[in-house]
Subunit: 592 residues, 2 copies
Amino acid sequence: MYRTHTCGELRIEHVGKIVLLSGWVQRTRDLGGMTFVDLRDRYGITQLTFSMDEQPELCRQARGLGREYVIQVEGVVSERSNKNKQISTGDIEINVSKLSILNASQTPPFTIEEESDGGDELRMKYRYLDLRRPPLRENMILRHKTALITRNYLSALGFMEIETPFLIKSTPEGARDFVVPSRMHPSEFYALPQSPQTFKQLLMVSGYDRYFQIVRCFRDEDLRADRQPEFTQIDCEMSFVTREDVLNTFEGLAKHILREIKGIEIGQIPQMTYDDAMRYYGSDKPDIRFDMKFVTLQSTQESIHLIRGGHGFKVFDEAELIVGICAQGAADYTRKQLDELTEFVKRPQIGATGLIYVRCTADGTFKSSVDKFFDTEELGNWAQHFDAKPGDLLLIMAGKHEKTRKQLNELRLEMGTRLGLRKKDDYRFLWVLDFPMFEFNEEDKRWYAMHHPFTSPKQTDINALCKNPEHVKANAYDLVLNGTEIAGGSIRIHNKPLQEAVFNILGFSPEEASEKFGFLMTAFEYGAPPHGGIAFGFDRLCALLGGSDSIRDFIAFPKNNAGRDTMINSPSGIDKQQWNELHIQHQKHISS
Amino acid sequence: MYRTHTCGELRIEHVGKIVLLSGWVQRTRDLGGMTFVDLRDRYGITQLTFSMDEQPELCRQARGLGREYVIQVEGVVSERSNKNKQISTGDIEINVSKLSILNASQTPPFTIEEESDGGDELRMKYRYLDLRRPPLRENMILRHKTALITRNYLSALGFMEIETPFLIKSTPEGARDFVVPSRMHPSEFYALPQSPQTFKQLLMVSGYDRYFQIVRCFRDEDLRADRQPEFTQIDCEMSFVTREDVLNTFEGLAKHILREIKGIEIGQIPQMTYDDAMRYYGSDKPDIRFDMKFVTLQSTQESIHLIRGGHGFKVFDEAELIVGICAQGAADYTRKQLDELTEFVKRPQIGATGLIYVRCTADGTFKSSVDKFFDTEELGNWAQHFDAKPGDLLLIMAGKHEKTRKQLNELRLEMGTRLGLRKKDDYRFLWVLDFPMFEFNEEDKRWYAMHHPFTSPKQTDINALCKNPEHVKANAYDLVLNGTEIAGGSIRIHNKPLQEAVFNILGFSPEEASEKFGFLMTAFEYGAPPHGGIAFGFDRLCALLGGSDSIRDFIAFPKNNAGRDTMINSPSGIDKQQWNELHIQHQKHISS
């Protein structure tokens, strides 16, 4: 037996007991005749004491213990004179009578504390040491709990977790597939799933009614910061449901997770159309922890003309769109702060040409960067339109429609951050509804599915499908949390002719469609029920629950931005025999 | 809204309620002026009635419904005059007032009933229809429940489910890897995990103490019947544990699953050494639902000589081993039955040259196939040694040690089946302990790890490691259920020198060992705790709980014996662009 208790378990009521503990040496301190060792495991830290007077040999041995040594001790639980209220075992210590070193340790390459002194690369290479640090351990516990809570919640609602295959088939739509060469079938490949989409739809055709799976998915994309080639989804599908059924069910899940994990009760989740999200926030995933909605002063699209022309201000005169936000209480922003904001929107990532401000001063007058073009009455009109109060700051941008909205979105988020309106412990969900069905890609000159090709158009828009794809709305929805998309789904197509029509718009020939998705369309001919579903990005959800922007800290063994696991050194070469068995060789020159 | 209730929900107390149901048409029957439709969903079957007198139009529409049509009906719940006690909704029926066809169906290619008329291939191609059949649906529900129960049980014991990566590194030991070519790193590959073995050990080094994961694993092996290239494990690891700690913990899990899933209380699980399993059952996974232990009459290995020589029976005189079983109450086996048994052991899969029987007749005499060599006294001695009673049948085989034991194992299982001693609802677990550490492969002339190279030798055998690898026992254990291995595990090596020594015996050069497993051996130098674990074959476990020998019926979308998914037609070709992006081409000729 290695231990009678863990290092987080002993309390004042255990005093007098002889116990056996095992764990890691967090630190040792010599104080005169006493040596103190903090012994750590997953459950906590327990103080060990060694007395030079009573057991000099043992005490000398304890003094020789290095950081991260694995030891086992036997001793008696004693009340501490100096109680430590910071830790759960702080009332007691162990007077050690036996000590054995279970495994020595080299000095770790970085400190294993709340904050480490190790750089990213070093900590990735020694990930197993980084995982010992309390923040990462807490992240893994949070992830475990969230998964378990989700499984129990959905199971109680009659959802069945059904495992779908990982060795599937490469399909032309969506992101790039990882593929697996087949040894038994030369020149043929399996593909790793980007999601279990078609399989979960087949399970609906099979009558399983309510499916879920917490499942790994794969995308061979160029990695941006905080994107992983393998990621985890909470994947769900339901039969005989309308959009409202799906939204209600997963609103329930979101509330349950927040309640269980964060102890927070969230009210009903508001809903917003995609069009409104773009109009009021310039984003399909608005952060609604703060208001600061867009106010349009001029729009050629919407025929809004609140700015009288003829002032000679070219920026406005030539703009398709003049739109702004009202930053409450920010009228006292200094010249320097306003310059910073202008620099912020002019950065290449955002690419604006400038920024107009109007300070609504406390005395009811206005100070603006366009004072020489617009008089106080005009500025007053704007302020009224913004519903601005004295003390507020208007920030206005002008230019092309779409571009300007996106730029103002970035500015809005920046102002939210600067004004402290984006609190990590404030959890605001939002449903975004009625996404466009298609988006046109100017490079390829073709339509792409905005969600995926299995998404149903809204019933009312089906007639417009072939003639005006640009006007068709999808029966698709996203769940946004604090400005991040954490789930997306749709009501699916469940009949063959409609699915064929959508494939046709997406530029698939009937042959291609049949080769890649024939099994699904055939399945639709054998009694497919109406169905719909949703998938949550589980890594992202955990990161947000943990108050972090980085998913990497919520994955036990993530890959770096080059898709490499530097700890195990993967990917790596394989044997000549493996190449041969798979009937492949390295491509000497790209054939065209 | 598609439904107010499911098809398994309505009871006598709902009579009078107006309800909305959706589901599949199981069958329609016309009885004079009435048409009856059985409406099916995952939850049950509800009878719908249509009256030609009252609603002729609706009734005609109902008569046109084909099998597996998806329909929605509105109607009033009524008490049935002819109650059906077989189904949970058998007290009621729905008098339908509205009917809409949600989706038509072609006639399914096979019947969707308890037993289908479709062949294996057809049912695999239309797997989504086969999955509608009640037995498969029950299997999926059992699998879902078993997974959920396992997760909750282990979580309550402090185990954390931690997801390990799927894109890892190809290693030389064990089965063949599936590999994934890297687009970003030409000529380099990821490998899909055969198990998360090294990662779970690293999690122990990280101090996570108790880990589990229900996780997909992959092996690119030539497929035998009932082996799948992807399969699921309940993968577990614990720190600061001895073998007994691991056995106790997972004995608890096994008991819990049997209690929750089958309503069966199993007692303490017996333990047997590998040596005893081989001696008494000729198998490392004995089926202990029945006794029928091997009895050795002669063994050159063990110096047992219970048969007096000089009888001129060459088969015995030349045998290293003479060993048999006593089939209780089978003395009345006919000549024909005994011939069948002889044919059974002579089949090429078993390969025995013959079978000797001794009938212990009711009157205390003996009838044997070797009567002319052995007299009654001699046969009586044997019978006594077998502890045989009048009415029993002795079946004896002779030959080389290992081969004969294996042959007798097959015969024992066959006799168990013939005598009705292997009942599907009788669940007998057995721990098999103290496996040999290594096995020598005569072809390669090298040692292989019997479990895997991370398994610790028994403490007492460490000294023999280099000199006598054949004598070294591993601290490894298997959990056997009804003659099938359902779990295997071991206490692991946790220090670098011992791991290096084992790699050395397995024929790895220090460079190879370091290239493939350097990360693990480095990890052992930073405070690795003693640890051990186990992995359950989840597909197999579910099959046994479902009373089946076939794992395929417990996997939603299995592959066939050629590793092919005939439903989606995978593996399949990929685009020229994909080949190019992966820097690979088809190998024109095998380079040597």
